[in-house]
Symmetry: C2
Subunit: 148 residues, 2 copies
DNA sequence: GTACATAGTGAAGTAGCTTCACTATATTTG
DNA sequence: CAAATATAGTGAAGCTACTTCACTATGTAC
């Protein structure tokens, strides 16, 4: 066994559940939630974002972004700065502690990957990625179908 | 690329996010949530369960199980029956519609697996499972460490 | 049979999220 | 350029999934 589709499929779901639980736990120790971490990740990548774009990227309502940024700002991880061209909009940028958190996230991700998967053959990892991509292709396809 | 640990690791997280989203969506169309589906799955497997054991299996508070069973009962998927030996406890069992829902879940799972992964070589699926197991081993280990 | 543990539930509260209504500013258009 | 319309953000209110705490009813142990 373990070469059958259903086994791999079930394994993927188990992985999904445990991984997000583990992630949640690691983030909690740093005083973060998945959502807040996502904001930090997006800001680290983009440099600065308007709340509207954050809502788009996060797939949540603009109203909720307000709250997210509120608490992130209270925690000193981001700051609201005036948008250079649009006085309605708010530029959200990482503070230095926020940027350090982003670096920690990256470091942690790479370290975990190396620790957990470092000694597996590249062929296994490549096969894993192939199967994962196949599943991803189908779930994102389904998503688009529902959107139209 | 794609043979590197970090790529597989990131892929696993993307898989986790998309898969639970896809799951949530499929369940919504049947009027279920992940939690309610989990209850149905557990009941289908065990035959009957006391709410206390459900709370244990779900990893949530007994109080929350009360609410979960309330709505599931309103929807006609489960029923509360007196526990044969303990008058404090409640035996929760699936109704016929509940059992049918459980069968639908199983069918849907198998069909999806076949559709999505059916034509991939068994060696890829086996490699996928190996990598998934490696990750699972680490996250559950971490969980136990934190527990002690 | 008194003391203590356990199963379930009401009441109240938290976190994450939504919609709706409103203000302030931008953009379009006649 | 003035009027109409669209857009960025936020307050208010509300929903869902969950928790803890206090309480009742029952079971178990000494």
């Amino acid at each position: 066994m373990d070469g059958k589709p259903i086994d791999a499929f079930d394994k993927a779901f188990e992985l999904a559940a445990r991984l997000s639980e583990a992630m949640r736990q690691a983030l909690t120790e740093r005083g973060l939630t998945e959502r807040r971490a996502e904001v930090i990740y997006l800001l680290a990548r983009a440099g600065a974002l308007v709340q509207r774009d954050l809502a788009e990227a996060l797939g949540c309502s603009p109203r909720h972004v307000t709250g997210l940024i509120d608490t992130l700002q209270q925690d000193g991880l981001v700051k609201r700065t005036p948008h250079p061209a649009d006085r309605r909009a708010v530029h959200v940028v990482l503070t230095e502690p926020g940027a350090e958190t982003a670096r920690w996230m990256t470091r942690h991700r790479h370290d975990s990957a190396r620790t957990i998967l470092g000694d597996l053959p590249a062929t296994d990892l490549a096969a894993f990625t192939r199967v994962a991509d196949r599943i991803l292709g189908h779930v994102t396809q389904a998503k688009r179908e529902n959107r139209s």
